[in-house]
Amino acid sequence: MTEHAAHAEEIHPEPKDFFHKYVWSYDHKVISKQYLFTAFFFLIVGGLLAMLIRWQLAYPFQPVPVLGSLLHGHLFFDDSGAITPEGYLQLTTMHGSIMIFFVMIPMLVAVFGNYLIPLQIGARDVAFPLLNALSYWLYLPAGILAFSSFFLAKGAAEAGWTGYPPLSDVSSSTPGSGSGQIFWLLSVFLVGFSSILGGVNFLTTIVKMRAPGMTWDRLPLVTWSQLITAVFQALATPVLGSAMALMFMDKVFHTSFFIPSGLQNSDDQLVGGGGLVGNAGGGGHPLLWQHIFWFYSHPAVYILILPGMGLASELIATFSRKPIFAYKPMVGSMATIMGLGFIVWGHHMFVSGMSPAMGMGFMMTTMLIALPSGVKVFNWLGTLHRGSIHLTVPMLHGLSFLSMFIIGGLSGIFMAATPVDIYIHDTYYIIAHFHYVVFGGSVFAVFGGLYYWFPKMWGRKMNDKLGYLHWFLTFVTFNCTFFPMHLLGEGGQMRRLATSTGYEYLQPMQDINVFISVSAFILGASQIIFLFNYFYSIVKGPKAEANPWNAITLEWTIPSPAPYHNFDKIPTVYRGPYEYSGEEAEKVGRDWIAQDEKLPA
């Protein structure tokens, strides 16, 4: 068993029939593509929801142009085709839930993690291929559950993606909190369970199945970020599962975990267990849900950004033709984020009735966790410094990640300062902050990653002209959409308002809302360019060679598209992942040298 002979023999023959090749497949590359196409579908659904939200905010209660006349009286439209107040809440809740659980986490972790981890560490497949397939086949029904909750009699869940009780818990408090909320609970539980299995799978793969020579300081930063994300997924997502289980018990078995005694519904009847009139129960505490939910959800926002950081590091280093600046501190800051990530969740609850003393503690840890992100930003700048920057499409996305993540991170500091958070909490300032970090950060990293690894995934190249056009439109309209939200936040416009025009002090905000909506429509439209470019190039794109970007990591040493069993022989790794323009590269006459390339004697 010396030179990994066992691995070589274990090559299962590639399945031939359509079912085992594409549907019930164990191959990590096929599973990642299954996740990719499902995440694209939910990206379109989530995007449409966002367009409806922006329509309602710009032209409150005016009939929606096309969809309104088609679906008047159904879903979230009233008879005249305008969006109803409870319909608006369903839009915001499902926009948030679908984008986070069904688009971003799968796109960042399941698509890139699944595809890249085995290839970058030199393994044939993930540690547990059956478990990998099981993760996808838990994620898909969860998606179907979430999507079908729109068509329920009383509509989808309406308590925000955070689902704070008693609004989400007491079914009579709002129409969506009946069966819609139960569908939401089940679908989030299922997608949480699938992401726990994914975390366990990836963590075992990275820790245990690295090729010989792939020591911890030669691991590419994409895989490092997937490792830290997998730790968060394996240890924090179960807490979300039990929060969902507790509220499920509340709604179905009429327990009263989050229902305080003496709670009344809107027609002044006392409600007990399960929010039902006449039940005794009570004695629960709504703040417990917030504590348990945010104990998961802060690690979840790091699950959303860490893979993006890994992708951006890869893109920036490759297209500056220069090793990543300070590799060890980059890994160190990710480890610090893992350490601090579990003890910061209270900064979501500064004004929620959590005691002020706790606020002080969480302010300290929140201020500290801003530091690793700052260190990473400066290291990326260090990588760009004195590099030879190729402004290809993936690089432009990588630079957009860097520039937008800076704004997202800096606007986070305002919230960490608790007195300022008193004013801007639950306003559009918060929405601007997390859209800058999630959209400006992770989505640009995902677009960059999809362009960058398209040749390896499909064996073809995407069209560059469309790529530049899509980047430029998205970059400009993204800023025009989300930067003015800082102004809305400073003007005190609260989140999740069907319209802000009811408030006299918010009148000056309405023109900003209209500007945001118009740029949001253009932003939505410009994504069609990307989707067309992606699917068109899968079929019609020019053939791609094995290493079109002259990159170093192991996945570029195998032909494109990556063959079924990845490596003919498990490679041996001799150097770090970012050895661009070094002496070793000069010895082989190029400005890069692959990780497993033996130097000529």
């Binding site: 703040l287 417990l288 504590h291 579990f342 209270g346 005691s355």
Partner: protein
């Protein structure tokens, strides 16, 4: 081989004894209510360590598995510590 088996039997018997002690102690009323809680939790923790080390094989596993086994209990204390601090101690009802 037989030392392994007798080892397993010894552990098994100690577990039975600890459970019996736990139940017995709970009926002893010389301990204050707080004492009951501490005694019960200590015995439960000792049972967990015994099962973990011997029945689950942590005894001859590397440091990685031991940290994996320990880390959730650290998070258990972080979450419960923060919740108890906030809801019970700092909150003026």
């Amino acid at each position: 081989m037989n030392s392994a088996i007798t080892n397993k039997l010894n552990i098994f018997i100690t577990l039975l004894v600890i459970t019996a002690v736990q139940i017995g102690l709970s009926y002893a009323d010389f301990l204050a209510p707080v004492g009951h809680i501490i005694a019960a939790l200590l015995l439960a923790a000792s049972e967990t360590i015994l099962v973990g080390l011997f029945f689950m094989g942590l005894k001859n596993d590397d440091r990685l598995l031991r940290t994996t086994a320990l880390f959730p209990f650290v998070l258990f204390c972080i979450m419960n510590g923060a919740l108890v601090l906030d809801v019970l101690i700092f909150m003026k009802h």
